[in-house]
Each structure stands twice: as structure tokens, then as C-alpha cells.
Amino acid sequence: MDIYRIADLNILIRSLHGDVHSLCSDYRLADAAESCADIRVSVSQEDIDFERAASAREDEREGLPVRVFSDGYLETLAVYRAIAERLPFFDTVLFHGSCVAADGEGYLFAARSGVGKSTHARHWMEMLGGRAVMVNDDKPLIRVRGGRAYACGTPWDGKHRLSSRAVVPLRAICLLERAETNDIRRITPKEAYPALLQQVYRPAGEEAARRTLDLIDELSACVDLWKLRCTAGPAAAVIAYEAMKGDRK
């Protein structure tokens, strides 16, 4: 058992394997008392088997050979799922996307699998150099409270393991689509809504799911929303940055 400080929450994790504790080691709270935990998570073999089946279904859906993962790795996914089920009660959701902080403000890129959100985020990092920080390249947490949104780094940061422990104000969410040329425009919450719903983890628990829907409404009202049709090249990052850093809505 260990306690980790993630998204300004103390999360107690009990696991069957060591992988999740290695993954979260940068976030560990040394000598923390069990009583300080905001969220307590423990995982069973059944939870691990659930992740294995979910992964296989996803591979089959995408027409890929079913990948084989260790119980330890699958447990890391089960732990994040268990945390995500509780997060809405702390005004927080798990968002599938890549989040870069530029000059201290977060820009969150979301797209269907394979479109290239990580590639686009990498172009931002290369373009901005020391002015940019990768908050999380895969599954940042987004806290929405008091009419403001914050992007939070977590250890669950994708295959390239790109993240930091940063918590930054979230300025904008940008939905990416692949195209032959680069073009960016503002979109309304109504236009963004289906994509936001798809990118945010929707809990199985009814009350948590209801809170999640309320948080998505609040999120879409307090950040700038954009749609970027883009190539895979670095010019897309220039166009996106120039538009998104401008006047707020």
C-alpha cells in the first residue's frame, strides 16, 4: 500500500503486483498516513481480467492481432479505471488526449485514435522549446471548479511516457482531424459535445456518470474550443498556436 499525490488528491493504492507502484513512483507521498487518503483503490484478479478482455475487444474492433499483456501492466489500467470512477466526486474527469502547457497555460488536443494528437503535441514542444511543458501525452486529468478548468499531469501518460507533475490552467481544447491542408476555427460547445463525450471517461456508476456529464458542460463553457483540420507536419502547430493564443472567446 502506498499513497500518491495526483491532481491535488491523495490516492491510496493497494495492488497485487508492483508495476503500478513503479509507474506512480514520482508521485509517491513519503510517510503519508492512511487517514489522509481522498480516494482508496484496491484491485482484484477479476479487475485485471476485465482489462485483459477490454483490451482484446479493442484490438479486435480495430482489426489488430490481440496483444498479450502481463497481469502487472493490466493492473495499472485497472487502478486508473478505479480512480476514474471516483474522480467526478472531486470535480475531476479523465480525458483521453495530449495536453501541452505553453507559457503556463494548457492546450489539450483530442482526436480519434491514429489521427496524430501526440505528433501534433510534439510539434508544439519542438516549436516552443523551453516555453512548453508536456503535461500528459495520453490521459491527463481535468479538474473543473468555480468556472475554471485545470489540466493535471498523471503517471498514465501513454506509450512514449511523456508527462510531468504539473497542474496548469486549461486554456483550450482542440479537436484534431486529418486533412490535406491546415485550417483552424472556433467551435461551439454544442459542436464539440459528441467528441468531448467520447474523450472523457464515462463511469459505470450512475451518480458518477451524472456528475461527469455536468462537468463536461461546465468544462465546455469555461475553455476555448477549436477544431483543427491538419496535416501531420509542423506547420499545423504554427497555425494552431497562433490562433489559440489569441483573444479569448
Partner: protein, 89 residues
């Protein structure tokens, strides 16, 4: 019939949507017009298709048979995605 608890009716402020939780077998989102929203509202309780049509007739002016056709279409769509618990009535 009634909406299963794995499906949530949510008013975004600009539209009514039907959203499944992670426990549902369906992962999409259903958006509809005002009539569809009214059907979803009715289905929060255990009702028959005729009762839904009656409730909508009391709210909306429409040509003869139009509401019944809209309700039939909505119920069929909801049945198709497994959103209805029909063992109740």
C-alpha cells in the same frame, strides 16, 4: 417500458441527449429533436408507448398520426441500442 439505469438523459442547455454509462453495451450518444427529448423524459418512468403518445399529444400540436409515428421511431431506435427495459409492464 422504461429507460435502463445504464442510460442517462442529460440536458446540456441546448439539447437533450441520451448518454450510456460505461456499464451499458452501447458506447455512442443519441441526440434528437424536441419530440425525442420529450419521449426520453416520459421513459424515466415505466410507461406504455400509448401513454408516451398521449403525453406528447397534450404538449405538442401536430397532424393526426404524426406524434404516434415520432414515438414509434424513437422507441424503435432506443430498443435497437438496448436502452429499454421492457419487462416492467
Amino acid at each position: 417500458m422504461k429507460l435502463k439505469k445504464e442510460f442517462l438523459v442529460h440536458d446540456t442547455g441546448t439539447e437533450t441527449v441520451l448518454v450510456p454509462t460505461a456499464a451499458a453495451g452501447f458506447s455512442g450518444v443519441v441526440r434528437g429533436n424536441r419530440t425525442f427529448g420529450a419521449v426520453l423524459e416520459c421513459l424515466k418512468n415505466d410507461v406504455t408507448q400509448e401513454e408516451i403518445a398521449g403525453a406528447l399529444r397534450a404538449r405538442f400540436d401536430a397532424p393526426e398520426g404524426a406524434i404516434e409515428a415520432d414515438v414509434e421511431r424513437a422507441v424503435s431506435e432506443l430498443r435497437g441500442i438496448g436502452a429499454l427495459d421492457e419487462q416492467l409492464v
